[in-house]
């Protein structure tokens, strides 16, 4: 009879535990990271082996959690990718908005600037038209600086976000290693029974960590987990944490990079390609910096062409035009780890060959190498870095102050600061050079029918540009310049002198004289204004194939395409992530209907066991009463 008591009691205990497990499942139905638990029952082995052995009840063998390592890993990877795209998308969509609104303003401002030149060309002496032009130029400058300012703002947001991510990653790592320790101890104390709730908690933290940074995990001893980032740098090894830290970029102290604290000098930013942190770093190198460079390229092209035209014309005071725009040129930044003081100077040799890339110049083993800073690909160059033989590549000319120490590096940024520093250099309307620098005159006494073109300036820097020059014909086929050597004349061919060029066409007669001289006083001349207005469609960038206008359009299309591409990738990854979550949930999630059925199942089993106990009890009482004769 005692067997029935023992069996029933073991069943009562087991079903009570089962009810507890089910209640616990229901209680944690909405707990993130909770894995559905189930009771494992085994039948107790009978102690005495009779002719027909009868079971001895039920034992709780353990409580297991529903968990698939494969699904969990897939979810972590998918969360890392989604985290990366989410934070990247956050920035590309902001750039998209900036470009959609303020760069739209930039495009209008540039349009108005060129139109203002056209208006000046219609009435070159009008102060009102000139003032409108200066204002239009100011608007261009404001549009550049506001667009650039907003982009720079994104970069400082990225810096704070990187620092915040690193703090959070470190805090998660510390918690994970602490949980690892408890799991190791708990597993040992539990006689091999895993402490499910600790593991659930730990795995949830690992899952949260995977949203922040792409990780790989391996199983450690006694239920611990080891976590690695980048190319296998350990973050958590059992109960030991290796913290991440932020360090300043070697070329730019205001830009934060990520490194392992124990190996601080070596940034691992380039290895972190997923998770929120990966997205932030990608946003900086793939979206914000290229946009700033592209904007700078447009600013550089606009100012260079405008200034060159301005320099080859005369202002209202009869002076050669001064620069209309001032813009910061290319920069060469020495690495903070350079071991000697050699500096590099960069200048623009050919604005048409400028790219939107940054470059790294490295001196190693007695030779220079030039690489694209974004992808590390080698860039061909000529020259040896001296003033006589500058390093020439990508429209740039690089001169070093000496021979750098081996291993020294310089970051070459061709257009990064151009948009930020773009400003209007002129203050007075009379300084706008609307007139051509030279004017030509055919003497009224000329007997021949030869005519002279109005002349163009080829080299504005020629000091003799504005000196008066007489071209005198000594016969129909020869002429002298300022009484110099006789030169052969061909109708319509170029005659160049003092940095200018004219054409004389027709048939001159000996004694015919043409004069080329300064156009000072020619305030009604609009040739330079016309040329300035025509720069709107003049091919400048990409080796003279893309106009300033075209570059603005290309900027808008490029930014829009990138944002669109990231949006699409994010949508796709959201679906992938939802699928991965579904896979995990279908294994580990708590289904309340299931639990309701389980509740009923265990309740009924408990009730039956209790009934068995009751029957055993009444049977036993009946038996005792029969013996005592109280049964009647």
């Amino acid at each position: 009879m005692s067997d029935v008591f023992g069996i029933s009691i073991s069943a009562l205990q087991a079903f009570q535990t089962a009810l507890q497990v089910t209640s616990n499942n229901i209680a944690n139905a909405n707990t993130p990271g909770y894995d559905k638990e189930s009771i494992e029952l085994t039948s107790a082995i009978p102690q005495s082996a009779g002719s027909a052995p009868i079971g001895a009840g039920v034992n709780v063998a353990g409580i297991s959690r529903a968990y698939s390592q494969l699904s969990a890993n897939q979810l972590n990877i998918s969360q890392s990718n989604l985290g990366q795209l989410n934070s990247l998308q956050n920035y590309t969509s902001q750039i998209d908005n900036i470009v959609g609104t303020t760069a739209g303003g930039l495009s209008t401002a540039i349009q108005n600037y060129y139109s203002a030149w056209s208006t000046v060309s219609n009435d070159p002496t009008s102060t009102a038209a000139r003032q409108a032009l200066l204002s239009a130029a100011q608007s261009v400058s404001a549009a550049f600086s506001s667009t650039n300012g907003q982009l720079q703002g994104l970069n400082s947001n990225i810096n704070s976000a990187v620092a915040a991510d690193v703090t959070q990653i470190n805090s998660l790592s510390t918690s994970i290693s602490a949980l690892n320790q408890q799991i190791i101890v708990g597993t040992a104390d539990g006689g091999g029974q895993p402490p499910n709730d600790l593991i659930d908690q730990r795995d949830q933290l690992v899952s949260n960590l995977s949203k922040l940074v792409g990780i790989t995990t391996t199983a450690g001893s006694n239920g611990a987990v080891n976590i690695f980032v980048g190319n296998g740098q350990p973050l958590v090894l059992g109960n030991v944490t290796s913290a991440l830290t932020t360090i300043p970029n070697q070329f730019n102290a205001t830009q934060l990079e990520v490194s392992i604290a124990s190996n601080g000098a070596n940034p691992i930013s380039s290895q972190i390609t997923s998770g929120d942190l990966g997205g932030l770093l990608a946003a900086r190198t793939q979206a914000v910096d290229p946009a700033i460079n592209q904007l700078g390229q447009i600013a550089t092209a606009l100012s260079q062409t405008a200034n060159a035209q301005q320099n080859s014309g005369l202002d209202l005071n009869g002076q050669l035009g001064a620069n209309l725009f001032s813009v910061g040129g290319p920069q060469a930044v020495s690495s903070a780890s350079n071991t000697d003081g050699t500096s590099a100077t960069v200048s623009i040799a050919n604005v048409g060959a400028l790219t939107t890339n940054d470059y790294v110049l490295r001196y190693q083993g007695g030779a220079y190498s030039l690489t694209n800073a974004s992808d590390g690909s080698a860039v061909a160059f000529t020259g040896s870095g001296t003033a006589l033989s500058p390093i020439s590549a990508a429209g740039l000319s690089i001169v070093l102050s000496g021979t750098p120490a081996s291993g020294d590096q310089f970051l070459i940024k061709p257009t990064a600061q151009a948009a930020a520093t773009f400003s209007v250099a002129l203050t007075s309307t009379s300084q706008l050079a609307a007139a051509g620098a030279i004017q030509t005159t055919a003497a009224n006494s000329n007997a021949g029918n030869a005519t002279i073109s109005s002349g163009t300036v080829i080299t504005a820097s020629n000091p003799a540009l504005l000196n008066p020059v007489n071209i005198q014909f000594t016969s129909a086929t020869t002429y002298t310049i300022n009484g110099g050597a006789s030169q052969p004349y061909t109708s319509g061919s170029n005659i160049a002198q003092n940095g200018w060029q004219v054409q004389i066409s027709g048939t001159p007669v000996a004694g015919d004289t043409f004069t080329v001289q300064s156009n000072a006083g020619g305030t009604g001349d609009n040739r330079n204004a016309l040329a300035s207005a025509n720069q709107q469609t003049l091919g400048v960038l990409s080796n003279g194939t893309v106009s300033v206008n075209g570059a603005v359009g290309a900027l808008i299309t490029g930014i829009g395409s990138q944002a669109q591409q990231v949006n699409t990738a994010q949508t796709a990854q959201t679906a992938v992530n939802s699928q991965a979550l579904q896979n995990v949930q279908s294994v580990s999630g708590v289904n309340l209907d299931e639990e309701a059925a389980n509740l009923l199942q265990w309740q009924q089993a408990y009730q039956a066991s209790a009934q068995a106990l009751s029957i055993a009890n009444s049977t036993f009482t009946f038996f005792m009463d029969s013996i005592n004769g109280t049964y009647s």
């Binding site: 139905a29 909405n30 969509s93 998209d96 470009v99 959609g100 495009s107 540039i110 349009q111 108005n112 060129y114 139109s115 056209s118 208006t119 060309s121 219609n122 009435d123 002496t125 009008s126 004017q439 005159t441 009224n444 006494s445 007997a447 109005s454 156009n519 006083g521 020619g522 305030t523 009604g524 001349d525 609009n526 016309l530 207005a533 025509n534 709107q536 469609t537 206008n549 603005v552 359009g553 808008i556 299309t557 490029g558 930014i559 829009g560 395409s561 990138q562 669109q564 949006n567 949508t571 959201t574 939802s578 949930q585 279908s586 999630g589 708590v590 289904n591 309340l592 209907d593 309701a596």
Partner: protein, 398 residues
């Protein structure tokens, strides 16, 4: 597949987010009337619209430039018409003075009228446009181009010519400088000029001069000298006699492609000088005429000299009329070019506006349709959620 209530919840919320975001985007489109509000919604169209906008703005600027050039050219056209009118009056005055019946007082009166014409011409040559810029001073638009001198007028402008951009790659001259209009006027018949020597004493008067022969005028500078009343020789610039001939009054003397009609009877020793045409200022021509008229008024005996001077002046006035007509014809041509260009620009602008509109403007029919269908999807999703939320086994456990 095993589904849990938690997953259902998460998926519903995700779906709700995405549905509401598309709904809000469509709603934005409908309320703004724009097919895209950020470049990412249609990167190619956004870039293209930016480029079209630039082309459109440029085209409108070209139209404005054309209007400005039109105003300038019309001012010039009016001025040139005035010059022609003055020259025609001057021509009539010269013919009147040449008629032979004029007394000294008459000639004085005519000279005074010619001086008046000279002053009017000066005023016209110093015409300023609406902005106070001199239209005939080349680039030096702030410098008064002409001022009278004893022999004509001095020119303070230059030979610059303003051009205006009226289309991509097309400019049109917005004016002409004073040298071209007033100073670079050929003398004589435009090829050569013949003048009586100042010391002539006979009554020989030069008539019409023409160029003959296929080779044209080859004579260079030469003079016709009367060695007797009816014989002359031709001397070249080096005073070498290169030809001789006999003369009867009214005869045309031909040398080196130049045909010179001569009337009257030159005295022995009289000569007539022939040279290739050069440039002479209109003001010099008028001044010379005035001077000759005044000299004629003071001495009745110098009639042939007056006649010769008037004949020369008439030639020069005709050249000036022809020169200003040519310039005026050019101005008319430019005005036509601008008009043609502007009508092309107008149709280009319409075209561009249509293109921009087709890229940028919302197709309301399809936007409203998708708004409707997104709305339906969203409310269906909500309905489905509420329905499935009611389904739980616990409801039936009593």
């Amino acid at each position: 597949m095993r589904v849990t209530q938690g997953l259902n919840q998460t998926q519903f919320i995700t779906a709700l987010d995405s549905l509401e975001s598309s709904l809000s985007q469509t709603q934005n489109q409908v309320s703004s009337g724009l097919a895209f509000t950020t470049p990412s919604q249609n990167p190619i169209a956004a870039g293209t619209v930016s480029n079209y906008d630039q082309v459109l703005a440029q085209s409108k600027q070209y139209t404005a430039n054309g209007n400005s050039a039109q105003t300038g050219l019309q001012t010039e056209d009016t001025a040139l018409t005035q010059v022609q009118n003055q020259l025609q009056s001057l021509r009539s005055l010269a013919l009147e003075a040449n008629s032979g019946t004029q007394t000294g007082e008459d000639l004085s009166a005519i000279a005074a009228q010619a001086t008046q014409i000279q002053n009017t011409l000066l005023t016209v040559a110093n015409t300023q446009d609406g902005n106070g810029q001199y239209i005939f001073s080349g680039f030096a638009t702030q410098t008064q181009p002409f001022s009278l001198t004893a022999t004509g007028a001095a020119y303070a402008g230059d030979q610059g010519q303003q051009h205006v951009q009226i289309a991509a790659g097309q400019t049109v001259a917005a004016g002409d400088n004073g040298d071209v209009v007033f100073n670079q006027i050929k003398t004589g018949n435009g090829v050569f000029t013949a003048a009586a020597n100042a010391g002539n004493t006979g009554s020989g008067v030069i008539g019409a001069t023409t160029v003959s022969g296929a080779a044209g005028y080859t004579g260079g500078t030469f003079s016709i000298n009367f060695t007797a009343a009816n014989t002359y020789n031709v001397e070249n610039a080096a005073s070498v006699v290169v030809g001789t001939g006999t003369y009867t009054p009214g005869q045309t003397i031909t040398y080196g492609g130049a045909q010179i009609a001569l009337s009257g009877q030159p005295a022995v020793g009289d000569s007539f000088d022939v040279a290739a045409s050069g440039n002479q200022s209109l003001f010099t021509t008028v001044q010379n005429l005035v001077t000759a008229l005044q000299a004629g008024a003071n001495s009745a005996s110098s009639k042939p000299a007056l006649n010769n001077a008037i004949a020369g002046a008439l030639n020069n006035i005709d050249q000036a009329i022809s020169q200003t007509s040519t310039v005026q014809a050019n101005v008319g041509g430019r005005l036509n070019t601008i008009t043609t260009q502007q009508s092309q620009a107008t149709s280009q602008q319409t075209q561009l506006q249509q293109s921009i509109s087709s890229l940028q403007s919302l197709d309301y029919a399809s936007a409203i349709t998708s708004l409707d269908s997104q709305n339906t999807t969203l409310s269906a999703a909500m309905q489905a959620y509420t329905l499935t939320q009611g389904l739980t086994l616990f409801k039936y456990i009593q």
